[in-house]
Amino acid sequence: MIRILNFALIVVTGLACIGLYRIAEEARIAQTDLRKVEAEINAEENAIAILGAEWARLTQPARIQALAARHLPLVEEPTLQLSSLTLLPPRALTPTEEPTFRTASIVVPKPAQEQISAPQELTLASYSGM
């Protein structure tokens, strides 16, 4: 009985040794791989940082302006911001409630009543559900 037990324990110990060795070896290899990958990540992150800085340098307005002036047949035209979201009429307002339409910021006279009432259901309110 005790002999069988002893034998079994020796076998288990042997297996445990082999198993442990394998795990230790795998861990060592994994650690080496990890270091390598981390070094690669590090290098990539450094490259990203450098490329990001380079991108910022190349896309700075001063440089683009100089390049555009040299290579493009563009002339500087006055630009106008015609409208903004804050100038949009509130959703709930139907055109009939508003005395005037605001297109950009030009005040245009209110159209005649029959022109907007012709397709009766087409008010701003009916668009809000779409």
Partner: protein
């Protein structure tokens, strides 16, 4: 037999004790194994192996839209052990070619008896790779980082510089040193690089056209106090280790104080209107200089016999404004300027802040000259902040260089009130009048209803003021009905040219520069043009 069996009995009991002990030992080991592998698998096993972050000690600085302004990049310093070279001459030539070091210097240091010598500092990774390709023995790299500024000169004064150890030396690098050193994420500044560029360009163009000694400008959000752009010319290249010829590290917008001249009339009028000292249609006699003993106050150009208060402002009459200042009185004027914050140094993130120069005696003559901006010197940034406070509805703003997330409107109500809403509205109308009818006409931009005030100050010389040397400035707000931004431009000693018919006053220099800035930045900042105030021909020419 008896003895024999007794001995056997003893051996058996010893064996069983040993067996029990080993069983316990195995059980403990087994239990610990199960515990470690199955029950209590540690998640942080990898943590000890994790690499320190690749970023340097300082966080990135980005503008309000996330555009990179400053970043630590990995670099290496290259050292050599000359004794290890086979052929030190060949090594010197090779290293000089790759790193850009002077070959004579390398030959010299390689010939010296020193064990280690520095070959080159701050090598980028690609150059480092090329050095490795030379295959020379006895080379050592020391890892480090270098702060780079991709935008170069454009934001040099605002951002400032760091020393080789990564400590802030000037500008926001110093002012925000603790934040930048401890931040994990990039630090967002209030600066908008597009606006910064537009301002720098307009200032440089005008500075060249009028051969000015220096120029400066500020774009400020009048509600949140965020500085969208600040430029001081001449500037410098922050990535270079030495200053170029004609470059200056002096930030004229914060580090210098100026007698700003007529743009100070904004404060005199704001006080007079707020305290109801004058009415706008009241007439002031402006046909003769005001005399104070040996001194006299005159006007630039003539304005006829008398002017209404509104036109005193628009036409920028010193004689008229001095009378208003005298009516306010010295003590009330001093208290009002103190309340605005003009008599104390500004508190903001930029550390280079000059203290204002205020008169030691504040008598009648000082009151009169201060009313039109002489006899008191303040930094342009402090001026801009106070002018913004008057234009934004009357609440005090403190200029900031950090992006204010979601504060804009709500922060206004928190500021201390400096003038009433009504006064603020009147001042907006007066500023608009100075552009439509007065000296600031060249600042107007079709559709954006610019309001603003010119200031042409004579520079103090050894004795009195120089007629020829001037500081010209312009403070503009837009849109004037409900101002969002303030644009300040300033030129130091501009000289008249052919296009300006020899004039170099603010109306010819600072005002058009401010107009140019507004025309560029208004669409960028999403300020809608007001087509109602555009003439049809202007609409046609502005539309594509």
């Amino acid at each position: 037999m008896d003895e024999n069996s007794e001995a056997t009995q003893r051996v058996r009991s010893r064996i069983s004790v040993a067996a029990i002990l080993s069983a316990i030992a195995f059980a403990v080991i087994g239990a610990r194994l199960v515990d470690l592998t199955l029950l209590n698998a540690r998640d942080d096993a990898g943590a000890a192996l994790a690499e320190p972050t690749t970023q340097g000690a300082r966080a990135d600085l980005v503008d309000r839209n996330g555009v990179l302004i400053a970043r630590d990049l990995p670099v290496s310093n290259l050292y050599a052990r000359p004794a290890a070279f086979w052929d030190s001459d060949e090594a010197a030539i090779g290293l000089a070619r790759v790193t850009g070091a002077r070959v004579e210097r390398l030959r010299e240091v390689f010939a010296s008896q020193r064990a280690y010598v520095l070959v080159a500092r701050a090598l980028a990774p690609d150059i480092r790779a090329e050095v490795m390709r030379l295959g020379l023995p006895g080379l050592f790299f020391e890892e480090g980082s270098k702060r780079v500024y991709p935008n170069g000169r454009i934001v040099s004064h605002v951002v400032g510089q760091v020393d080789p150890d990564g400590n802030g030396l000037s500008g926001l690098e110093l002012g925000l040193n603790d934040i930048v050193r401890n931040a994990e994420a990039p630090v967002a500044l209030s600066i908008d690089m597009r606006v910064q560029f537009a301002l720098a360009r307009a200032l440089a163009d005008t500075k060249d056209a009028f051969q000015a000694k220096a120029a400066g400008g500020i774009v400020l959000d009048v509600h949140s106090g965020e500085v969208l752009a600040m430029v001081s010319l001449p500037d410098y290249e922050p990535n270079a280790r030495t200053l170029g010829e004609g470059d200056s590290i002096r930030n004229r917008m914060t580090q210098d104080v100026y007698e700003l001249g007529s743009i100070f009339k904004i404060f005199t009028f704001a006080q007079a209107i707020d305290e109801e000292t004058i009415t706008l249609d009241e007439r002031f006699v402006v046909d003769a200089p005001l005399r104070f003993g040996r001194y006299s106050i005159g006007d630039y150009g003539r304005h006829g016999h008398d002017l209404s208060a509104a036109m005193v402002f628009a036409e920028s009459s010193n004689i008229g404004t001095a009378q208003i200042g005298l009516r306010i009185g010295a003590e009330r004027q001093r208290l009002f300027l103190a309340k605005l914050g003009l008599l104390a140094p500004l508190r903001t993130e930029i550390p280079e802040i000059a203290s204002p120069l205020i008169p030691s005696r504040w008598n009648e003559i000082e009151t009169a000259t201060i009313s039109y901006g002489h006899g008191i010197s303040v930094s342009p940034l402090s001026f801009a902040a106070v002018a913004g406070s008057i234009a934004n509805g009357g609440t005090k703003i403190t200029p900031t260089f950090l992006k204010n997330s979601g504060l804009d409107q709500s922060s206004v109500s928190r500021g201390e009130r400096v003038v009433s809403v009504r006064t603020s509205q009147t001042m907006r109308a007066l500023l608009r009048l100075a552009v439509t009818e007065g000296t600031g006409s060249k600042a107007d931009v079709p559709g954006y209803s610019v309001g603003g005030k010119t200031g042409t100050a004579e520079k103090p010389t050894g004795r009195g003021y120089s007629r020829r040397l001037q500081i010209t400035s312009f403070a503009a707000i837009f849109p004037s009905g409900d101002p969002k931004y303030l644009v300040f431009t300033m030129f130091d000693e501009p000289v008249g040219n052919k296009e300006s018919f020899g004039f170099a006053t603010a109306g010819w220099t600072a005002a058009p520069a401010a107009g140019q800035v507004i025309a560029h930045i208004a669409p960028v900042l999403g300020v809608p043009a007001n087509l109602e105030i555009l003439a049809p021909s202007e609409i046609a020419s502005a539309l594509p």
